[in-house]
Amino acid sequence: MRKTITVILLIIAVFVPFATSDILPVIGDPQSAPNTHVSDYYIEHAIEECNSPNMVTAVIVDYRAFDTMFETTVMFLAGLSVVIILANRPKKRIPAFSSLKRLKTADGRPVYRTINKDVMISVIEPLILIYALYVLFHGEVSLGGGFQAGALIGMTYLLDIMVVKRQRPIFRLSKAGSAALAGIGPLIYALTGIVTILGGGLYLEYNKFPLSVHQAELHSIGITAVEIGVTIGVAGTIITILNALMERTYFDDDND
């Protein structure tokens, strides 16, 4: 049975490219349909309408901002699902990490001596955070944006947890706290749109922010607010997944 399906699939795999290749546009053709109709408008109007030289940013957080809002929600949803599936039984807790004995070499020193904790925390982490902020606020001007910045902030937290001993964390979020934080990020995004509704416009119409500055500035403010929401959401999600893995419990919830 399986082998028949496989053979059929392989036949399709051989034939579909030949059958479909003549209806698809030539690679790199500037006159093909996907490269002319809507995309020309985006490229030519991104600067004047959205005040954003980075056209991909203009597309994802201005022209198609509604998609990106739900994309951030998908991140939140993934983090929340991982917590619920893996670590929702506090009673039968079998800590996966605290019971681990610290590995030692033959002469009794811990094996991770090669990583210097002081250097890690006092030098590298601030640099990563500064870089994250740079990526966040330059997303509309050059390459970068909320997702990358959020990932960097989440990685800083991860580094912190890995290096510092469990007893003395510098900054520690609980499972519920981090999941709530991951939810607040997309909420900031959604509320940005609601503010524009209150300003008398349509949803996510950045021109209608109730502020008295130039129209191009309004778009920048809108994009930045949205990117901050995305950053918080992504960082929260990474921390949530980390918490879910660290507080993983073995449980059996068959009830029928």
């Binding site: 399906i5 290749s21 996907p34 991104a46 980075n54 597309v59 198609r64 949803l77 599936i85």
Partner: protein, 137 residues
């Protein structure tokens, strides 16, 4: 003859590669017995579609879609729309993979295996046990 093939490959070859990748992913999901391998094949499949969309956005004498000065000509920059769309698709694929891996952990804890035929056997065993228990009650 060779020039025809070369011209065809230059114009359309990449689509064939992405579609073969897609077919490999689907075939892997159906043929593999191990759930982890199925999950990896799922990822291969999603990456194939991402490549397919990015191929559509390519233009030849063009650069990345970040405006270099205020006067912009459409033919000088690649199409930004597929890149934006695929950012969403990547995040979705990440979320699906995360949820899939955590489900896999739970399956491994409960049944002690992630091989499909083993799992089906154990499920049947559990069903029979549950039925016998119900009768005794």
């Amino acid at each position: 003859m060779m020039t025809t093939i070369n011209a065809y490959l230059a114009a359309k070859g990449i689509y064939m590669l992405t579609l073969v990748l897609l077919a490999l992913g689907v075939a892997g999901i159906i043929v593999c017995n191990n759930y982890m391998k199925k999950l990896i094949c799922m990822n291969v499949m999603q990456v194939a579609v991402i490549f397919f969309f990015l191929c559509l956005g390519q233009k030849y004498p063009a650069t990345i879609p970040v405006a270099l000065d205020s006067a912009v000509k459409a033919s000088e920059y690649v199409n930004p729309l597929p890149h934006g769309l695929m950012l969403t698709a990547i995040v979705v694929s990440l979320g699906t993979t995360g949820v899939g891996l955590s489900l896999l952990l739970r399956i491994r804890e409960k049944y002690g295996t992630i091989e499909e035929d083993d799992l089906i056997r154990r499920e049947e065993l559990m069903n029979r046990k549950a039925k016998n228990g119900g009768n005794r009650k």
